[in-house]
């Protein structure tokens, strides 16, 4: 040491350099801040897109489930309509059947099948049955069989079995 005083601390950065570094520092900061902001927003948009995609898939699934439910309900409606139609037809058939039965003949039992009709009852005579019941039955059914059992008072218990042939029945439906 040769000097009575110590040298002043030398700062590497002069005022001009500090200004230059400040300028570039601020510039880079703004660039990186903008980049960071955009990156953040992009990330947020991507996350939103993923969420929306998930929602779309979820809604599609729900829509599919709803479609299935709608199809099932439509099927039920269709079935209900069929049942209702069948019932209506059946009701109409029964009404027609009872309209067909003459007042002098008393039915005790009716068995209705898909293509068959079995009537149990009593008739005052075979002729009454023959003319008043058997004739309209033959016009409706393809095959008609009648069995009589005499009971007291000259009356006859009868069993009338009537069939519609399958092919002809289908053809008739058409």
């Amino acid at each position: 040491m040769y000097s009575f005083i110590k040298p002043r601390v030398k700062k590497m950065l002069t005022t001009e350099l500090l200004m230059v570094f400040s300028f570039f520092g601020i510039t880079f900061f703004m660039i990186f801040a903008t980049y960071g902001f955009l990156y953040l927003k992009t990330t947020q948009y991507k996350e939103s897109m993923l969420e929306y995609d998930k929602k779309v898939i979820s809604l599609k699934n729900e829509a599919a489930i709803m479609q299935n439910k709608i199809a099932y309900i439509e099927q039920e409606v269709s079935q209900a309509e069929q049942v209702y139609t069948k019932n209506s037809v059946l009701k109409e058939s029964i009404k027609n059947l009872f309209d067909l039965i003459p007042e002098r003949i008393v039915l005790s039992k009716v068995q209705m099948g898909e293509n068959s009709l079995v009537l149990y009852g009593v008739t005052p005579s075979k002729d009454v049955y023959e003319f008043m019941l058997h004739a309209p039955l033959r016009s409706i059914f393809h095959r008609t069989y009648s069995d009589f059992y005499p009971i007291s008072g000259g009356w006859y218990r009868f069993v009338s079995t009537n069939y519609l042939d399958e092919e002809e029945s289908t053809h008739d439906n058409k």
Partner: protein
């Protein structure tokens, strides 16, 4: 945080030395790129203070790099060097409390804090990094001789003289003289000496008012050789530093500058030989560093004191800058 050296190397280092005399200020600028000196600029200003020209000149360089070092010599009268670093011995020469002391291994040099503060405030417009005592300049110039030879070493400036005796690197004796301004005369001039830059301590000036001892300088003219120095009474045992006031009795008036210096060197040598405080050795060689031609001084010393004189021509500012570079390189500031 310490700046890595690799970054420092991107910058030039500029060393600016200020050498102030009574009438002018010499400025030398050395610009280094690494260790390579790439530019030197010297300028002399007819001022002893900071005028605008001087300020602009220095500012034009210090604005180029943050690594600039401005240095100057302590030219106050109240300074000196002694051959010990012991505080008790230093206290015999100066008030330790009000002094700044630099110990250089076995010897030390001191200056007054107030003088250093004055110097710093004088240059506060651009500031100072180093203030050197002149003896370090001398030891730096003759570093190759001081370590191995017993000799008288003299640093000659326009208005300053440093006389030292070294023996194998050990300081035996040192005197520092400030020569009065040769251009100023009379009481008015003395007032101006006091006022100019306030460099001279008032107390020192008071001491120098008592110039009775200087009457004996008349006898020096009559000396034929070093042997007759014994015939003269002790010249002075007051201080390591002396300023010769030519206004009081015009003792040295009429002599040329070299002869004044010769008388001062002779006086210093006489003190060294006769004061028991100093080691009893005989000096045969003298090494003189001077920025000006000193042929007559050299011949006077050879003829009248029988010294083998070797002189080196120096540029004081360059030497100050060399010292600054050495300081900076060693301390890595």
């Amino acid at each position: 945080m310490k700046i890595p050296n690799v970054f420092k190397n991107f910058y030039q280092k500029i060393y600016i030395a200020l050498s102030v005399t009574h009438t002018k200020t010499d400025v030398s600028v050395n610009i280094y790129n690494g260790d390579q000196l790439i530019e030197t600029k010297k300028e002399s200003f007819e001022t002893t203070k900071i005028n605008n020209k001087l300020y602009d000149f220095v500012s034009s360089y210090i604005s180029q790099t943050p690594y600039f070092y401005i240095s100057t010599l302590n030219i106050s009268t109240d300074q000196g060097s002694i051959s010990t670093c012991s505080n008790s011995n230093i206290a015999k020469h100066t008030d330790v409390g009000s002094s700044l002391v630099i110990c250089n291994e076995e010897w030390s040099t001191y200056a007054q804090k107030i003088d250093i503060d004055k110097l710093e405030s004088k240059y506060d417009r651009f500031g100072l990094d180093f203030i050197y005592p002149s003896i370090f300049l001398l030891t730096n110039i003759f570093s190759d001789k001081i370590e191995i030879e017993l000799a008288l070493y003299v640093l000659v400036q326009d208005d300053m003289l440093n006389v030292s005796v070294f023996k194998n690197g050990k300081l035996l004796f040192a005197e520092y003289f400030v020569l009065p301004d040769k251009n100023k005369k009379g009481p008015k001039a003395e007032e101006e000496i006091e006022s100019v830059e306030d460099l001279f301590d008032d107390s020192a000036m008071d001491d120098l008012d008592d110039l009775d001892e200087l009457d004996e300088l008349d006898e020096l003219d009559e000396l034929d050789g070093i042997d007759e120095l014994d015939a003269i009474d002790d010249f002075s045992k007051k201080s390591d530093t002396n300023e010769i006031n030519i206004d009081s009795d015009d003792l040295l008036e009429g002599f040329d500058e070299d002869y004044k210096r010769f008388l001062l060197i002779k006086n210093a040598l006489e003190k060294f030989y006769h004061d028991s405080e100093y080691e009893d050795v005989f000096v045969e060689k003298a090494y003189i560093a001077s920025s000006s031609t000193i042929d007559s001084l050299k011949s006077s010393l050879e003829d009248e004191l029988f010294l083998s004189v070797f002189s080196r021509k120096i540029d004081l500012c360059d030497e100050i800058n060399k010292l600054s570079k050495k300081e900076v390189d060693s301390s890595d500031v």
